[in-house]
Symmetry: C2
Subunit: 287 residues, 2 copies
């Protein structure tokens, strides 16, 4: 297991951790300020959200690399299935997915995260929706291959199964990977979503190093007050972060550890400098 | 698969569906009124909560049976592990569990439902807590055997893993059953908690008829607004109720289907008569 106590080269910031500077959260920092603040602290990389990139993806990517960091990934593809899919149906979803891949390519982000979306309207259970999801991901693989962007299926916590993600376990994500059978498609592991799963270690072994495309850090607060926006800072919750990283690394993963904390009433209320300092401290000590 | 379109003999009401008449919910019906209203409609059984039974468990049980119904079970054991365990520690938990078994016996309820409780304070992940849980359940088996009360481990939805239930999958529940290895211990299956699990059918087969001690009905609303008190009436959500019951029955279960709907802002605001009528209608048509 890697020793991070004096090595931040594998530490990445997902900008969601600073509240996106949207909807009244965050300190109003520009993307450039975020990049500089991460570089100053020795972060190894950054993950952006599409909303932060207008026509500046190329220059943002260049600024990150000029700062000595890497663009680790892009959040995220549009919902591909379920009730929150934008109007326009399958064709519009496909087109938006291709545009998201283009944006990742412009940023030189090696990975685009895919959040599935929930249960297809009119259907019951998740099986049918998972099948539609697999088809829609598969349809984007040729373009992703051309763009050298890998697609990371991220299983979300089962609490989101209805509306945000019919994909709720690593097992199901790997089943889709098996079905698509492309080196361009893998999985992202987020401790918030999978910490409760006693089959995780076995499924990580099944995934293997080539299919684990990302590892996301935060914590699950025992008394969480909100399912979307009350994630904990590493160490403040009940996820066994050491075991989880051990298993991910035992499976062969040696990539970035990406801190992604949605926290409307706590961390998003603090100054970005304080949040970043805490990220560094916790990354060194409890992850 | 059993045909319920004209047969309510397997229909049971969990009284939580009427809001417990507590905290401002429900219509203030007495337990006797609930029993009579269920009997009038042809329900086969009722499940009570401990809070509804003062020193009247024996007479309540008798009234149910005199009405032509059965007491199907008792909700529930105290939290056995985790942060919500009452003060007093392991000894107090054990004693309260025995008292809950006594209460089930007084009611002549064949099953006491066990809700585990969350992650043990000071620990990380769920494995250690599951081990403590298994020990505490095992310690009550002799008394449960004497009282002819079976103990049903109910895996709750993973969203509760932090505070209310470190036991979140049927797989983990059966692992505990295997470890305790007593015919007195089995599982309860609640569609709200397990509907998202693609390994459920296989795990139900593993459970077998002797270990499935209960089957609970409600629905998972795609856009659920509250994780504790916004369960849906059967048919209003995205759980595949037909498949779920098929799997449970394929595993050999032929017992009651117990409707348990926590719904502070919808069903608990309606008259008990309307709720019970809807329970009957939905049970016949969509379960």
């Amino acid at each position: 297991m890697r020793d991070f106590s004096n090595d931040l080269s594998s530490l990445a910031l997902n900008t969601a951790t600073l509240g996106h500077n949207l909807d009244g959260y965050g300190a109003g920092w520009s993307t450039e300020q975020v990049i500089d603040a991460c570089a100053e602290r020795g972060f190894g990389g950054i993950v952006f959200w599409r909303r932060e990139l207008a026509n500046n993806a190329i220059s943002i990517g260049e600024r990150v690399r000029a700062s000595g960091m890497q663009v680790v990934g892009l959040c995220r593809a549009p919902f591909l299935v379920g009730p929150l899919v934008d109007a326009g149906g399958a064709r519009a979803v496909h087109d938006e997915l291709l545009r998201a891949i283009d944006l990742a390519a412009a940023l030189q982000a090696p990975v685009l995260t895919i959040v599935a979306g929930g249960v297809e309207p009119g259907s019951k259970g998740i099986v049918e929706s998972l099948s539609v999801l697999a088809d829609r991901v598969a349809a984007a693989v040729p373009h992703a291959t051309d763009c050298k962007v890998k697609l990371a299926l991220e299983p979300l916590h089962p609490v989101y199964a209805g509306d945000r993600s019919c994909l709720v376990t690593l097992r199901d994500a790997l089943d889709i990977c098996d079905r698509i059978d492309s080196t361009q498609v893998g999985v992202a592991i987020d401790v918030y979503h999978v910490w409760w799963d006693t089959t995780l270690q076995a499924q990580l072994e099944r995934a293997g190093s080539s299919r684990i495309l990302g590892y996301h850090l935060c914590d699950w607060l025992a008394n969480t007050s909100d399912i979307l926006l009350d994630r904990g800072m590493m160490g403040d919750g009940v996820a066994h972060l050491v075991n989880l990283r051990q298993w991910v690394e035992d499976a062969g993963y040696s990539g970035f550890c990406e801190i992604e904390i949605f926290s409307a009433n706590n961390w998003w209320q603090r100054s970005p400098n304080e949040v970043l300092d805490q990220c560094v401290e916790r990354f060194k000590s409890v992850c």
